[in-house]
């Protein structure tokens, strides 16, 4: 269907150009973002259900400005990444996909994503947001928002700011609530939410090169790693962490005032604010002595390697999504820190500023394709440590590292 559109565009383009001529003294061939719609055509954009509402207004304004229709196709967040990889080679995939930066490695590895060139505009963005989408020296996505987890405190229950995680647990116990703190887990574990604690032991998942990019060399093992494993087992035994607490339970517990602290991201904090709770967002305190660094996730747009609308897609992604106006708008509807510095500087929301501050020292989630082999082993082992099934924490952790290495080596 989409393929016939350039023809229509050509036919309509003539009349539109004519009308543009009569309406203004400008040259009819102005630059892409000039006021009068001159183009028609459709860009198919895949968005998952968590982001689609933010992109609906963007699609409308883009069509108003350029005449190009953004056809937003909602995909399930669980499928969008896989579907993109399988469908782009068939020619059926979208022109643009909105997603997270950690998909980059897999996309590049499959040759389904086209590089983008931001040129000087790259300097207008938070550096971490740009490097997050870089892979092997090239830029593959254009960022629009940054998010990370932090410690959220219910100010109605506690007001002190803990210096260490142990102190936090001790304080939490004084609040007289069923939980001193909640960090969501679930049967399959949740390494993402535990990562700040892990990094505070000095065990990042992959080694980082000098420029901050990851090398495919596992760094979560060793003494630092086993110390963290022992700590997790201790937290599990003390019932500070509980595999039964999954995302929904954690959110509900905090909403119900059953815990003074929760480690979570802006996605739940929004709900807490909406419920009228008085909350403060703090960096996650260190458990192992070093700084606790959460993963930073960056949202952005990728262009399909097989798009037949490469010029339009590039125009939308590199010239339109990068404008301050659009980044402001995405912030307003999406509630995440904008990747564009100019937009981010305007934020006066304390909660979001808190998350931003907590994420300042964070490291982007690795986008290496090897990361795919890590998540499930990681979560499973952690949940076994917490649940007490793994009786020898150090051994279980070391076995996990071996298994991950085995999976990476294939």
């Amino acid at each position: 269907m989409r393929r016939s559109i350039p023809l229509v565009a050509a036919a309509l383009g003539v009349t539109l150009t004519l009308s543009a001529c009569s309406g203004s003294s400008d040259e009819p061939t102005g630059d892409a973002s000039s006021a009068a719609p001159e183009l028609t055509g459709t860009l198919t954009v895949w968005v998952d259900e968590t982001r689609i509402d933010s992109f609906k207004p963007v699609a409308e304004s883009y069509q108003e400005e350029t005449g190009v229709q953004l056809d937003l196709v909602q995909k399930a967040s669980g499928d969008i990444r896989t579907d993109f990889v399988t469908q782009v080679p068939t020619g059926e995939g979208p022109d643009v996909v909105i997603g997270a930066h950690d998909w980059t490695g897999e996309f590049v590895n499959n040759g389904v994503v086209a590089p983008v060139e931001l040129g000087d505009k790259a300097g207008d963005f938070a550096e971490s947001a740009i490097t997050a989408f870089a892979y092997d020296g090239k830029q593959y996505g254009v960022p629009y928002a940054i998010e990370n987890i932090a410690l959220v405190r219910n100010d109605a229950l506690l007001t002190e700011t803990p210096a260490t995680f142990d102190e936090l647990v001790a304080q939490g116990r004084t609040a007289g609530t069923p939980f001193p703190v909640v960090i969501q887990q679930g049967d399959q574990g949740d390494a993402y939410h535990l990562y700040p604690l892990q990094t505070s032991f000095g065990a990042p998942v992959f080694a980082q090169a000098a420029d901050g990019s990851y090398t495919p060399e596992l760094a979560l093992g060793g003494e630092a790693g086993t110390a963290f494993a022992a700590y997790l087992a201790k937290l599990g035994a003390e019932k500070v962490l509980d595999p039964a607490v999954d995302g929904d339970k954690a959110k509900q517990a905090f909403l119900d005032g059953q815990t003074p602290y929760i480690v979570t991201g802006p996605w739940y904090a929004e709900a807490f604010v909406e419920a009228g709770m008085d909350i403060t967002v703090l960096p996650v305190p260190s458990a192992g002595g070093e700084e606790a660094k959460p993963f930073v996730g960056v949202q952005g747009a990728f262009i399909s390697a097989k798009t037949e609308n490469s010029v339009l897609a590039n125009d939308f992604v590199t010239n339109y999504l990068t404008t301050e106006e659009i980044q402001d708008e995405l912030y307003a509807t999406g509630g995440r820190v904008p990747a564009l510095t100019a937009s981010a500087d305007k934020i006066d929301d304390e909660v979001l500023a808190g998350f931003n501050e907590a994420g300042a020292t964070g490291a982007p989630m690795p986008s290496l394709p090897e990361m795919g082999s890590v998540w499930s082993f990681w979560g499973t082992t952690e949940v076994q440590l917490i649940g007490g099934q793994a009786t020898d924490p150090a051994g279980a952790w070391t076995a996990m590292v071996t298994n991950i290495q085995g999976a990476i080596d294939g």
Partner: protein
């Protein structure tokens, strides 16, 4: 109806009297008088023919020769079957068979094909796609080169790019001819508005030739190493140099800096002698490797047999429990003396009215050891690890599957019980047979005639009941420190899913091979069971 008439029913599908074929044929001839049924048939077949012809033309237009051949054969078959006086069974089988052929057999055949390839992450598409992806991905922007506002130009079919340089000079070039300054060109700021010999392309024209424009490379100068100008959005351009070059004749990539040569390997990647590879690769056939991986890869063969055993246990126990309960309830409520049978029946199929995956999600929540409804409310705060203890998790799976599955069996048995001639049962009862005996030697065998194949296919369904396992336990609790992430409640199909999709690198080839293997296993068992029911039918 007398018992005499119902007798052949108990004889099952192979009546002892041989079917009188010739007589049937003579009776069913339509040629002599045209009946309304014949008109209906004519219209329907004409419609199918029209659609088929349209399809043949359309498929020929898009050069889908496979579809053309299929449609021609299908049309011939349809017309032959419906206008021939023979082929009686064909007339009833063809519609279903056509759908089966397209939507089941093709899918199986294609999966079979995939199972012999290395299709998966990194080997996702064709070699041509891989080559162009490598070329695009290895292009490097010349360090320190500026951003140029470019204007897209055309000279007939040929495209070119123009820039206004720092001195305000207009420079124009095409792929053949490096950028050079032209005189007498008009520019508005940094945009060229008029240049001799070229047409300035408007946005609509740019949009029309997008693919060509993004592939356009205009050399900056005669020296190729200075790189070439290209644009991706039709308005800004950058200078790039390639870091590897593809030699079409030799079919190799050469690293321009180090001189390393990458040649295509058997596994569908460009590989250098030292083993380093360019990504992405492409899809190639790998023979039986996907089939042998299950056994040769120690990480897979380790848990394989444990999981195979549980898969059988799960599938068999699921059939036995759901059928047992379903049949029991069907018989219980088949007694007309029970008032409110409609009411009971309506409520008993409630679990079936809920989409299965959804019910599994609800159960997962209810079985949560700390917060679940079962522990918290029904067991008064007990701490039973329903889904985290290996054995309890297995039990939970079976119980939830019983809850989900018995209404199906209940329905089927209720329906099938209707087919059992009541007078047969009644007369047996008159003869003084006890209820259990009647059930054992009359009801059950009669029921089995129509239900046995369903039990076999229910076995096959549960053997592959991915949704339940995935939604309820996700296969967990996982084996400790196992090199592949599978758990105590994983069945074969969820193990494949975990290995081929969730462990990071997606391997469609492997997944396809295992689904074929699973199919062979299930098929063989079912076939054996089916042979046995044949003897059952002939009792």
């Amino acid at each position: 109806m007398s018992t005499q008439q119902t007798e052949p029913a108990t004889a099952g599908p192979e009546p002892r009297t041989p079917a009188p074929e010739p007589r049937r044929r003579s009776v069913t001839s339509h040629a002599r008088d045209i009946k309304p049924g014949f008109v209906v048939k004519l219209v329907l077949v004409a419609l199918v023919d029209a659609l088929g012809l349209y399809g043949i033309l359309a498929a020929a237009a898009v050069q889908s020769w496979g579809i053309v051949v299929f449609l021609v054969l299908a049309l011939v078959a349809v017309n032959w079957v419906y206008f021939s006086r023979r082929m009686l069974p064909g007339k009833y089988l063809v519609p279903g068979l056509l759908f089966l052929l397209v939507y089941q057999l093709f899918v199986m055949a294609y999966t079979g094909y995939v199972s012999f390839t290395n299709y998966g992450d990194g080997h996702n598409s064709t070699k041509a796609d891989a080559i162009s992806a490598i070329q695009v991905q290895t292009e490097r922007r010349v360090e320190g080169s500026p951003t140029y506002p470019v204007t897209v130009l055309s000279r007939g079919e040929e495209l070119g790019l123009g820039i206004v340089d720092e001195d305000g000079d207009v420079r124009v070039g095409t792929p053949e001819q490096p950028l050079e300054t032209v005189d007498g060109a008009q520019a508005d700021g940094d945009r060229i508005t008029d240049v001799e010999g070229f047409e300035v392309l408007g946005l609509a024209q740019i949009a029309q030739r997008q693919g060509e424009i993004t592939e356009l490379r205009v050399p900056v100068s005669d020296d190729a190493s200075e790189g070439s100008l290209r644009t991706q959005d039709g308005s800004t351009g950058y200078v790039y140099t390639p870091s590897v070059a593809y030699d079409e004749a030799a079919d190799t990539f050469t690293d321009l800096e180090t001189g390393t040569v990458y040649t295509p390997s058997r596994y569908g990647t460009f590989t250098a002698e030292d083993g380093s590879r360019l990504t992405p690769g492409w899809r190639v056939g790998v023979g039986f490797e996907n089939y042998t991986a299950m056994f040769s890869d120690s990480r897979l063969s380790g848990p394989f047999f444990t999981i195979l055993a549980w898969t059988f246990a799960f599938a068999i126990l699921s059939v036995v429990t759901t059928f047992g309960l379903g049949l029991f309830l069907a018989i219980v409520f088949n007694d007309p003396r029970v008032r409110g049978r409609r009411f009971y029946r309506s409520l008993l199929i409630l679990p079936y009215a809920f989409p299965g995956f959804l019910a599994a999600l609800v159960w997962r929540g209810m079985l949560n050891p700390r917060f679940g409804f079962i522990n918290e409310v029904l067991l008064g705060g007990a701490d039973v690890p329903w889904l985290t203890d290996p054995w309890l998790a297995k039990l939970s799976i079976l119980l939830v599957n019983l809850w989900l599955g018995f209404p199906y069996m209940f329905l089927v048995c209720t329906g099938a019980l209707q087919a059992i001639p009541s007078d047969v049962i009644e007369s047996a009862r008159m003869d003084g047979a006890g209820a259990f005996r009647v059930f054992r030697s009359m009801t059950l065998p009669l029921l089995m005639i129509s239900v046995a194949p369903l039990l076999i296919s229910s076995f096959a369904f549960n053997f592959n009941n991915f949704t339940l396992i995935y939604m309820l336990t996700g296969g967990g609790p996982n084996f400790e420190s196992s090199p592949v992430l599978v758990g105590h409640t994983d069945i074969l199909i969820s193990m494949v899913y975990a290995v081929a999709f969730e462990s990071g690198v997606k391997q469609y080839g492997l997944a396809s091979a295992v689904s074929i293997l699973i199919f062979v296993i299930v098929g063989a068992i079912s076939y054996a069971a089916f042979r046995r029911t044949k003897t059952l039918e002939e009792l």
